[in-house]
Amino acid sequence: MAGGASAASAAVGGGRAAAGAGAAAAAGAGAGAAAGAAAGVSAAAASPGALPSPHPLSLYHVFGRIGEGTYGVVYVATTLSSASGGSASSAAGHPPQKRAELLAGARGADNGAGGSLCALPHVADEDGAAEVGHPRTGASSAGTQRKLALKLLKPTKEFDGVSPTAVREMALLRELNHPHVLRLEAVHVHVEEHVLCMVFNYAEYDLYELIRHHRERLAKSPISLHTVKSLLWQVLQGVEYLHSQWVIHRDLKPSNILVTSEIALGGGGMVKIADFGLARIFQAPLRPLHDNGVVVTIWYRAPELLLGARHYTPALDVWAVGCIFAELTALRPLFQGHEVRRSGAPFQKDQLMRICELLGAPTEEIWPTLGHLPHWAANDENVVAAASEASNSALAEARKRRRLNASTPTPGEPPPLLADAAAMGRGSSAHYLLSKMLTFDPSARLTAQGALNDTYFSLEPIPGRNALRPPEGTGAAVSYPPRRVHTEDRGMPQSSEPAQQQQRGNK
């Protein structure tokens, strides 16, 4: 088995013993493949709508590219008719051993036919001629294809095997199962080509595009209160689930919060949290978490991280959700700091100053462990004085513009400038909830569970399961543009822009 072994195939079992047993049963599919592995990997075999063979993408009808980043490229696709078994593979023009074997139908046998893509009935044949409904959608939906998102990971430069990020993301997603967490449907591994492909359910929208649509196309008309509340409610449900499973996402931002469209299985207007490339388990961490390098896109980064905290807690996800909440109401990022781009993990002072402008400067009184945070303790770039300076000048500025009636913010009240920046009524339940999610001290910050219990959610409008459809009789739903699909330049080399901009630009 050493050397030229080809793709093995594994059905997914449940626990540790079952994983082994399942694999044994399914191993037959890949068993004959070893002999031909070395020869002719690059043999061209044209397949309609797919990248050069033999490739995981050739198992799907690929429409085009919807995003890319440093990690790889995301395509939108539907399943081909030939997704099962060796004969189908041959029919598609590839000898079985050259095809990526289907490795992991994501959720195990208890899911019935839907559990593994192997078992999917034909959705569309090679030419896209025949269309058969998906078993879960029933006969009535014949003609609606089940869309999938294929995340194709770039082969690592140094030919260094599966990247630790991919290992982490897949391992976590295999364990997670929640309506508001994007579901991993399957993983394809192509042994000879070193291609790794994760298959997700497709979600048409994401919060970045939703917000942008309102800001740029709808003349900054606000997102409806019902939609904001439902989206926030669902995001918090997902985050609460992750935290209950001892997972911190660490990279929550609008472009990572997907929303399904009306025709999606399982219902439209549903939040799906995506991109677990930076997520990790925080149960009994033996190594300090900061060893992975600093994470979280800077605008959504919690103050304890900005100040160099070494241990990550679930509270940083709540901070990020708070920032997203304000962005949903104000249609622009709450704290738009300028990122210092330098190697290592530079102190992002500007980002912290933006926070202090709206929330006031942190003190040891409201944040007892403040003095232990490296950048604060060392007073890097004179941060202590700069924080009060930023806070005071922001207040003075507001007073000059007569936006602030009270001379100083009242203790116990949420910061007034925060309400203005987030376009919320001062003293409204939204304002209170936001300020509790944006508490400086991570141990005093609201938890996801606490946020879900907030009165904000028990006031009208009550959050709904479909965030995009307003309740009966309260106006029409906004129709959002579908995700842009790039079809022409699929073969183009990827640009070398910084990852953060790329992600935002393409999501």
């Binding site: 050493a2 013993a17 082994g20 074997e101 992991a104 290992v167 976590l172 364990e175 070193h194």
Partner: protein, 228 residues
């Protein structure tokens, strides 16, 4: 292949893996996770004696990544190469990184890693619970701190046996304590039996015996190898 041979294959593979982990200064957690992965892989794949190093190498490479203690593939290959050379009594020359031999080893490891991932169906977090910390907390409950070192070593040993894929971690932890106590001639509370606190008395007694058998078998094998 006979069950005895299969056992020996596992012993050899985990031993090489453990040696490499020490040479690479990897955390013991990474070594344990890698060993557990190896045992899971062995449950489905028959491994010949010639593949032992290759499989151990791929499992260690993957285990280190899972436990966020990743090492460059080059380091892992170099260390395993050195172990193999030492074992065969060959001169300990460094691998030439531009050689075909190195390229082949690299290719083999990357392919095997993928194969392992596939075999495990990407379920990688289920072996995170190693018996070590359970054994330590049980000993604290039993107020037998003098057994901690020996039980810890037994817990490491248990990862050399298929215990981690056959029995739950609490039973393995109890087996380690019992084995350590036997060797140190320390008597454990008998009435009611101490392990009733940590295991199900109805269903887990035979598993506990199984763990003890596995540990004894490993020690017998090592003693025999030491003598030979």
């Amino acid at each position: 292949m006979s069950s005895a041979t299969l056992h020996v294959i596992r012993y050899l593979a985990t031993q090489r893996l453990q040696t490499a982990a020490v040479l690479l200064k990897l955390s013991q957690t990474a070594a344990c996770t890698a060993q557990a992965i190896l045992h899971r892989f062995c449950e489905t794949q028959e491994i010949g004696e010639n593949d032992v190093s290759a499989v151990a190498r791929a499992c260690l490479y993957l285990g280190a990544k899972i436990e966020e203690d990743a090492r460059p593939l080059r380091e892992i290959i170099t260390v395993f190469d050195r172990i193999d050379k030492r074992r065969k009594g060959e001169p300990l020359e460094l691998l030439d990184y531009s050689s075909d031999e190195y390229a082949a080893l690299r290719h083999q490891t990357v392919e095997l890693e993928r194969e392992v991932l596939c075999e495990l169906g990407f379920h990688l977090h289920c072996e995170r619970e190693h018996p070590h910390k359970l054994a330590m907390s049980y000993l604290r409950v039993l107020e037998l701190p003098q057994l901690m070192q020996a039980a810890w070593s037994c817990a490491n040993d248990s990862l050399r046996t298929p215990c981690c894929v056959r029995y739950p971690a609490n039973v393995v932890a109890c087996g380690c304590i019992a084995f350590a106590a036997r060797h140190a001639a320390v008597s454990l509370p008998d009435d009611p039996p101490w392990w009733h606190l940590f295991c199900d008395p109805e269903t887990e007694e035979s598993s506990l015996h199984g763990v003890l058998m596995e540990l004894a078998r490993l020690h017998a094998w090592q003693a025999q190898r030491g003598a030979a």
